[in-house]
């Protein structure tokens, strides 16, 4: 395998594997938030705000993988 194809493979794998964890995390986060909103609709505003903070923090992990994939393809 030459260096160019190794780079492309690495970019694909980093994006695929790197989005696995955040996907699971986002699923858990949103399901729990919805569960608690269903249980206590009166605090849904606060829960939604916290949920969005959590989404932002969790999703960033997948985006790091995206940035690394871009660096692998276009810069390295």
């Amino acid at each position: 395998m030459d260096a160019e194809s190794a780079k492309l493979l690495a970019a694909g794998i980093s994006m695929g594997v790197g989005s696995l964890g955040p996907a699971i995390g986002l699923g858990m986060l949103i399901s729990k938030a919805l569960e608690s909103i269903a249980r206590q609709p009166e605090v849904s505003g606060e829960i939604r705000t916290d949920m969005f903070i959590g989404i932002g923090v969790t999703e960033a992990v997948a985006l790091y993988a995206f940035v690394i994939a871009l660096i692998l393809i276009f810069v390295a």
């Binding site: 705000t49 932002g56 985006l63 995206f66």
Partner: protein, 285 residues
């Protein structure tokens, strides 16, 4: 009964058209590079002062447009406030209330009034900048219409994140004093040996907040715009009219999703800024 027949006829006609399109040969093969959309070429060349290049490029123009749109909106709305709001005033009031109640009010415990201007400013700036990125403007190569957002550029988002970073520590030091602020990073009950290690870890995490805040916004906008570009240009790659029709429908869905992402990212940027500044103001004992 007649309407149903008509709908059925339309459906059959559409399917036949799609089937014909599927077997038509495509046009000339086009070269396509997604990331070329994000390269910055100087539009107006200016001399550079030392290592700082002052040339005006696409990102600078988008930042100017954002500032101009915000300034004009704020000017118009502040001249003409009515007790019964017009549509435009209603939109601005809703956004203002969102920033005041759901972002600053929900997150910061003290000193809300003095930090609201910065956080609302960041919210509006990122929101308008993200949304302008979804309007085709003639600043692509050779003055073609293209998508670009100032926030799809790491330098712009890093500057915004640096503002939050500096204001976080400024707020903490102003309230607690330098020694008190740094001491507040770790619980006072920790044993002295652990304390220094925890201080170090906290200092590193402060720097990584800067990285995550800027890279999150940048990568979100870059990823969204490159997905849009891929969908819009996929027809050229597949060389097939059927694929083109289906992909254009897909690109509309992605476009709508991008509007949602643009708003959410502005919200997240503002709320994380509020969390960081609020955390520096009210350190837990």
């Amino acid at each position: 009964m007649k309407r149903r027949l008509l709908i059925g006829l339309y459906l059959v006609a559409g399917l036949v058209a799609l089937a014909i399109l599927a077997f038509l040969p495509g046009g000339a093969r086009a070269q396509f590079d997604v990331l070329a959309e994000f390269e910055l070429h100087p539009i107006i060349k200016l001399p550079s002062i030392g290592p700082v290049d002052l040339s005006i490029n696409k990102a600078v123009i988008y930042l100017w447009i954002t500032t101009a749109v915000l300034a004009v909106c704020a000017f118009i709305i502040s001249r003409n406030i009515k007790p019964v709001p017009s549509r435009f005033q209603f939109v601005m009031e809703t956004l203002y209330e969102l920033a005041r109640r759901s972002i600053v009010g929900a997150v910061m415990k003290s000193d809300q009034a003095s930090w609201f201007p910065y956080i609302a400013g960041a919210f509006f700036f990122v929101l308008v900048s993200n949304l302008i990125g979804l309007v085709p403007l003639p600043f692509a190569e050779n003055h073609q219409f293209g998508f670009y957002a100032a926030t799809a550029n790491l330098y712009a988002t890093l500057a915004l994140a640096l503002c939050t970073f500096v204001f976080t520590h400024y707020a903490g030091i102003r309230k607690h004093g330098l020694v008190g602020y740094v001491n507040g990073w770790v619980p006072s009950s920790a044993p002295p040996v652990l304390r220094q290690l925890m201080l170090l870890i906290h200092a590193i995490s402060e720097v990584f907040r800067l990285v995550s805040l800027s890279v999150r916004l940048f990568a979100n906008m870059l990823a969204g715009h490159s997905i849009l570009a891929v969908f819009f240009a996929m027809a050229l790659i597949f060389q097939n009219y059927l694929a083109a029709v289906v992909l254009q429908a897909g690109s509309i869905i992605i476009y709508l999703f991008e509007i949602f992402i643009a708003c959410i990212q502005a919200f997240i940027f503002a709320i994380l800024s509020a969390v960081y500044i609020g955390g520096a103001l009210d350190q837990e004992e």
